[in-house]
């Protein structure tokens, strides 16, 4: 997911930098505004629907990849492993720290004091999924781990002094 976002972002950044460069290079020259203005109008009339269509398609396609429990259950199947998770300043409590690979796991995540963020980092350091840990709520996070190894949980919602120390680990085997 991150690499896709990176490519899209880089592409747009390079293109947009080139566009601004092009305009800036021609800002010092003389072109009557009566000729520029209709072009701007045309860019607006053609560009707006084009962008709206692209965003509309992206919106619809993205709905197939929602991270919410019902959506993931539909894609991955119902969970067979259940892990109770409680976040508190500044530690994580997990009902089990060994998770079988290839099975759908349900993390039932809550918090004892303030908001925390249950962020799951893969053995190679990539954030693979997350959910908020909230006092008074239990959020269900479904995931299937296909790669074995030691995963790190890091708090992803700021919770003051010990925030960056709030870690735990579990092993996928």
């Amino acid at each position: 997911m991150q690499s896709g976002a990176a490519m899209l972002f880089l592409l747009v950044t390079v293109l947009w930098t080139a566009v601004l460069w092009w305009v800036a290079a021609r800002a010092g020259a003389a072109a009557p505004y009566e000729r520029v203005s209709p072009v701007i109008g045309r860019i607006r009339r053609l560009g707006t629907p084009a962008v709206v269509v692209v965003l509309g398609i992206a919106f619809v396609v993205s709905l197939a990849f929602l991270p919410y429990a019902s959506s993931r259950a539909a894609r991955l199947g119902e969970p067979t492993v259940h892990v109770e998770v409680t976040g508190r300043m500044w530690a994580w409590e997990l009902s089990q720290t060994r998770i079988p690979r290839g099975q759908v796991v349900e993390f039932r995540v809550t918090a004892a004091d303030v908001n925390h963020g249950f962020g799951v980092f893969s053995p190679d350091g990539r954030l693979v999924t997350q959910v908020q840990a909230m006092p008074g709520y239990t959020n269900r996070l479904l995931y299937r781990f296909d790669e074995p190894g030691v995963y790190t949980i890091r708090c992803l919602e700021f919770c003051a002094t010990g925030h960056h120390l709030m870690q735990a680990q579990f092993t996928v085997e």
Binding site: M1, L20, A58, Y68, L127, E157, A160, T161, H163, H164
Partner: protein, 494 residues
Amino acid sequence: MAPVRTNGEQLQRSVDQAALVYLLTGFAVFLLMGLLGLAMRLQHAGWLDLGPRWFYRIMTLHGAGMVAGVLLASLGGVSAVIAPRIGLSPRLLWSAYVVYFLGSGLVVLATLVGGFAAGWTTTYPLPVRGDWPVSATWGFLFGYTLVAVAFLLWCLAVLLGARRRFGSLANALAWPVLFRRPASGERPLPTGPELIATVVALDGVIAVLAGVVYLVPIFAQLLGLVSGFDVLFAKNMLFLFGHTLVNLNIYVAVALVYATLGAYTGRSFKMSFPVALAFNLVIVLVLLPYFHHLYQDFAQPLPLHLLGQFGSYAVGVPAFFVTIIGSLGLLYGSQVRWSAPVIFVLAGLWGWTIGGVAAVIDGTIAVNNVMHNTLWVPAHFHSYYLFGAAGFTWAYLFHRLSGVEGWARSVAARRLAWLYAIGAGGFVLAFFFSGLQSVPRRYAVHLAEWQGLAQIAVPFVLLLVVAFAGLLLMVVRSVPAAWRLPAIEPAADD
């Protein structure tokens, strides 16, 4: 453009002086908060160790101070631009300034002396559960309340002034242009900055109300009147307040682009159907994207998540096609008089768009699941803020102090402006790449493998320091003259 009152010129001069104080105070706060930002990036790079307590205090102050400072400056700028016709009173501006100043002072005391460190967002229940004295929480939240009151005063003054001037709110929102009806009677139509100010004031009132709904229960809890309340509801109000406020700040700054760019290109934004449509859409659209802060709160109802994704996608479209494309149209072939304000606007158009694209990517729920609360998020809002809200405002400040042919056109000023553009660009790109590398945001300590990008960011921040130090000197030198003379006519509004 005729003054509204007989003593209009005198009034306008008083407004200009108040505006200048807003702008300069905001600029000073921005620079100080920027140095705090440098300290944080040095810590991320592994080159400085403040310890987590001081890091989080500084982080809290940096966020709160930047929002307060840049908002103050841009409100000052736009006040000067709209005052000739909307008729803001200098007394109101000065009163709001004093309230604002007291509020900001409390925030500084609460963080640096009191040790309050819940982040500028102060997500409930952290403000009441942190490991700092309760007096610090009182000070911080009361400081916020004062800042919000000052902003509310400004919003109400603009709404009343706009109604008086344009006859009705509908006219102030350019509805005759929007619905292609002739303006009622002999009432004038708003200019771009006047329309934007009205839109900001409308949404500003809503944002402040959300802030009140957020803060009152916390005060009640601090007083022992309630034992606690729903964290999800609190978060909704918090971000309806905070996210909206920050976004409105960018639109305030956009009004300043309208007022600045025309002077250097000899062209002007006309109040036209696209402009009227865009900013009327913004009234609603700017209230929706805040839901993207809550995508990972799975307990939030799904329709609100989807509304957030819709809002995050939609809000950028009118801004891009009207303001950004329109500004490029003003620049193209205009024989522009290159100067620091123009370079700041150009850089602002770059960063605002890049930040917008990043927001659309992160505003996609599926992507947000692996990006939320990584450094991608500060990357995106620093692009908005440093380039957009702040950059556009400083463009106006330099224009206000220098005029078209003054010091801002000097080789030195232009070089410093490019230095700013490069420094700001490298600085935000390092943030973006850190986000892609899954580096969590708001961490006092970075792992060794995360430090590389922070080490790359530091030299770019130093470029920013050099650029702003140079520009500060030029600003300081030109203040006395600007204080005595009335502001230059904003050439862009007609």
